[in-house]
């Protein structure tokens, strides 16, 4: 059981703080979604975990050790950072053989991951002839090479076709169910919502949220109920007395903000008001994310940041 632990991590490039006092853990057995706008520090954090960049202060460890001190780095962490990171003059198979040799992995693993990622048929072609989707699959193949305990993927669905997106989602699910740790960054909210159990959200290098996905949705979205009834005015009176603010739309349907069907249904039943339709509106990760990051935008434009709560 190996986790990634980031503690007080800070990285400055000249005057810019790309990562600012970050603390979070990526635990085994679940998929952790890594969210944040471009430039929020997600990729930098991943590079710091791999020891590629040196932190200004703080630590990033894998299984309690710095990446550089791991005995078998490729068997510990499989990472996809940049699908372009391969010399175009090499064939896909040679590219993986170079990595396998460095990681003391048998050549049989090269052929296995080529099959697994669906690029075995183009394995002997030069990488320079690859499409973005094929490069992405090759990058994922490299990450899978060591059958690692931790999987760290930066935007893995980039360039993949819909089939490939489902495949990578299932792959991450399998890893997590197998008790491994998975950290996946994405700018696609629906993608992240479909696979993540836990979320780490960054904004301007700082931690905005580190929470389960359901808790995140509960905190940052307001539930809403839509209903249709034959006795609109009576229902309105009842709901207003209960502290709700029902609003009727042009089509006759009612919307109740900040309410759940579990609350509205029993009230209508108690009052004997006929309900023709009653539906709770699921909170979307996108709405929750935007609510959180718009708070962050406000935060960053105030002159005295400490005086304002997010």
């Amino acid at each position: 059981m190996t986790s990634i632990d980031v503690v007080n991590l800070t990285k400055e490039y000249g005057q810019t703080r790309a990562v600012d006092g970050l603390t979070f853990s990526v635990l085994p057995g679940r998929v952790t979604g890594f969210l944040g706008p471009n430039g929020a520090g997600k990729s930098t954090t991943m590079r710091l975990v791999l020891g590629l960049d040196r932190p200004t202060s703080g630590t990033a460890t894998v299984g309690g050790r710095s990446y550089a001190s791991l005995d078998e780095p490729l068997r510990t962490v499989g990472a996809l950072l940049d699908p372009g990171a391969a010399l175009g003059a090499r064939t896909a198979r040679d590219h993986l053989r170079v990595l396998a040799a460095a990681g003391r992995l048998p050549t049989s693993r090269v052929d296995e991951v080529l099959e697994q990622t669906g690029i075995a048929s183009v394995a002997r072609r030069r990488i320079s002839t690859f499409s973005l989707g094929m490069r992405q699959r090759l990058g994922i193949a490299a990450a899978l090479l060591g059958d690692p305990a931790v999987l760290m993927l930066d935007e893995p669905s980039n360039g993949l076709d819909p089939e490939g997106i489902i495949w990578i989602r299932e792959l991450m699910r399998e890893f997590a169910d197998d008790g491994r740790a998975v950290l996946v960054s994405s700018h696609l909210m629906s993608e992240t919502a479909a696979v993540a159990d836990h979320l780490v959200v960054l904004g301007k290098g700082r931690l905005l949220a580190d929470t389960g996905i359901q808790d995140f949705l509960d905190e940052w979205t307001t539930p809403r109920v839509r209903l249709r009834t034959t006795e609109g005015e009576r229902l309105r009176g009842v709901l207003v007395r209960e502290g709700y603010q029902p609003v009727q739309a042009d089509d006759g349907r009612w919307t109740v903000e900040n309410a759940r069907v579990e609350e509205i249904g029993p009230i209508a039943a108690r009052e004997g008001i006929p309900i023709l339709e009653l539906a709770g509106e699921g909170a979307s990760l996108e709405a929750a994310y935007l609510a959180l990051t718009s708070g962050e935008a406000e935060f960053t434009t105030t002159t005295s940041p400490l005086s304002q709560e997010v």
Partner: protein, 259 residues
Amino acid sequence: MSTIPLTPMKSHVSLTPSLRSEWWKIVSVRGQWVALAAVFLATLGFSLLMSGTFTAEQLAAPEFDPLRSAYYGLNFGGIGAVSFGAMAAAGEYKSGAIRLSLAAVPHRGVFYTAKLAVIGALALVVGLATSLTCFLIGQALMDEYGVGLGDPGALRSVLGCGIYLALITLFAAGLTMVARSAPAVIGTLIPFLMMMSFVIGDLDDDGGIAEFLPDRAGQQILLQDPTGPLSPWAGLGVLALWTGAALWAGWVALRRRDA
């Protein structure tokens, strides 16, 4: 600058997997083989062209040096050596491949040592094959003016020529680790090696600073009766110092910089 607690260094990080990986990096890219082949072919081709076309007067002249003459094409082979060293090192910096390399071999000292060992060993083997071939065929073409491997300085020149090519290759590789670009290093180093010592040498012909430039110093090893301030091996040593400085600069860059 980093506050990461230093994890105790493992007493023996194995070099073998990295050597194997670096070997695959070179054999899997055709351009690098072409550059290595060019070292052999360019040196041999231009050397034989010269050895085979000396006139009787040139051969009989008292200042005629049968050793140096056998390696006439060395500067052309040097272009191949610079290209090979620069390409082999710059492969890491094309499209960020070094991140994958360092994720596989996070110990940068092991990574760098293995890379230089493979580049240097290949260059040395090709260099020695080149020099021995040039010598044997070249001397045969010079008829009775040619010398044998047992003659004074002959073996020294063969070994030295091979080592010279390996050192030039590593010189380029070290600079490339600093510049992170093969064209930049090839474009700077080739004019520097090919022309600099001629230009400075012309201005300053009595054994001054030009004698200590990498190519001029290194080629002392080829001369039958070397003149100037540097003996054959001292000259090669000066080239080795240049190479060492470039490799050290490459190491500092690799160790300090973010990948």
